[in-house]
Symmetry: C2
Subunit: 252 residues, 2 copies
DNA sequence: CGCGGAGTTGAACGCATTCAAGTCTTGTGG
DNA sequence: CCACAAGACTTGAATGCGTTCAACTCCGCG
């Protein structure tokens, strides 16, 4: 699979010059294998990473060593912009499956930001959308039942991956284990397993071998009380999704 | 009580010139009463707000109309920077008790950002710390037991308010109801009540009439598995807290 | 005096965790 | 080729944390 380009990841945001500009200051691609720790909590950073391919997870441990996923980043995300501004991270970043990242030295970014305030503001924008996703995760964990949390999470990944051209509305690749999903949705692996079984039995969606299958996307979104307003998608994409996901009665 | 100044809120971040600069482009203070909706979800915004006094909450409703707090902002927070970059908000902002805000027109901010990229980056920094707090709330809701969630939340407010000079390590003002706290910690009001009763009974902390009383701060932090690394406090303040909160055996 | 919001308490129910056992797949080495 | 180990997934049964519904107190306020 080809690497995710900036233009494809952010339609309507970066123009051609800006995309080239950002691309130019990135170093060589670096590959990481499954479960590799890409950035370690607390370490000082001198560069930030762009995720070209694959998935990475932000995690934090509790005292007894159990993990909680704080975010799941997909190809086309800047996974480490925070470190450019805050110098260090307050959590770990792990590869999920095979990933490819490209580093941007902070020195280059600083230079860029001094000369191109508009581009800098666009990077700010990207980081604020991440923050909006964080807030939505708070909503999910705080207000939704177990089953709705799962459906809501699968809905989010459906829309985010679709927006990057990384899946259809009925199927996408998600190389997580059920244990990962439990750590995302704030439940035990056993319970995640049972609830996924329920979703499967009632035909809402299925998750098998790192593939999510959705026979009726509108129903999945309903089951998860999902809406994608917080993703700040490009207007045309938003409209497209509204058209494809809203009324929908019969399907092939 | 005096309004929170920028220099007091962000020690070591904004220098005198920058603080004046930001202050200069703010409009007249505006007051809001309890439960007033300060910013409405989805509306286009032409200005961003600085919170001089009081508390505001970011909330999102589920389908059945129940609220979840996504964040709690205190005096000295920029409560609406997101709108400067993203034009609209994906959630509501409510006053909690009496609050005073000062608006900054987006036009002025845009002008400023073009001329002073360093200052803009500092505002970016502020918004990234908010994002770090969001992530910590995800951790709290996803991994901690009910009682630990409460103790963790009270710990966070202890440290954040102390950092702004808005409380001591044994007592601070927090004008919330038990129902608000339930909506923050992802539980029912009844259960929040019972757990607060437990914390009171075991002497961890007490919450009464909008006051939080902590006889042994170190114990509270332990009960909530709290650490403040994610708040990116000024180094001297961090050290001060470590000194005051870490070993601590006897107290007056 | 009565109303409403906040706090408190009891009891029944149910969702989720825990512990445990067992299946299935995959990769490794005899 | 088979044996075996490891990890992911699945299922059962017991326990318990948290919700739900309900009643009741306390307080400030009109």
């Amino acid at each position: 699979m080809a690497d995710m380009s900036l233009e494809r990841a952010y339609p309507g945001l970066f123009d051609h010059r800006e995309a080239n500009c950002l691309h130019a200051l990135q170093g060589k691609p670096e590959a990481h294998g499954p479960r590799a720790r890409i950035v370690e909590c607390g370490q000082a950073q001198t560069r930030s990473l762009y995720l070209c391919r694959g998935f990475v997870g932000r995690t934090r441990m509790d005292r007894s060593g159990k993990r909680q996923f704080l975010a799941l980043q997909i190809a086309g995300d800047f996974i480490d912009l925070q470190a450019f501004v805050l110098e260090r991270l307050d959590h770990d970043i792990h590869a999920i499956g095979e990933v490819v990242v490209r580093p941007s030295p902070h020195a280059s970014l600083r230079q860029l930001s001094a000369t191109d305030s508009e581009l800098m503001q666009k990077l700010w924008r990207v980081s604020l959308i991440d923050a909006a996703i964080h807030r939505y995760w708070i909503f999910r964990l705080g207000r939704l039942s177990g089953r709705a949390r799962l459906a809501n999470f699968f809905s989010e990944m459906l829309v985010r991956l679709y927006a990057r051209g990384l899946g259809t509305l009925t199927r996408y690749h998600l190389p997580l284990t059920q244990t990962d999903i439990a750590e995302i949705c704030g439940m035990t692996p056993v319970h995640a397993n049972r609830l996924i079984g329920e979703l499967r039995a009632e035909g809402t969606c299925d998750f098998l071998n790192g593939e999510v299958l959705v026979s009726d996307p509108a129903q999945l979104l309903r089951a998860g009380q999902f809406s994608w307003d917080y993703l700040f998608l490009h207007a045309s994409l938003d409209e497209e999704l509204r058209r494809l996901l809203k009324p929908q009665k019969a399907r092939a």
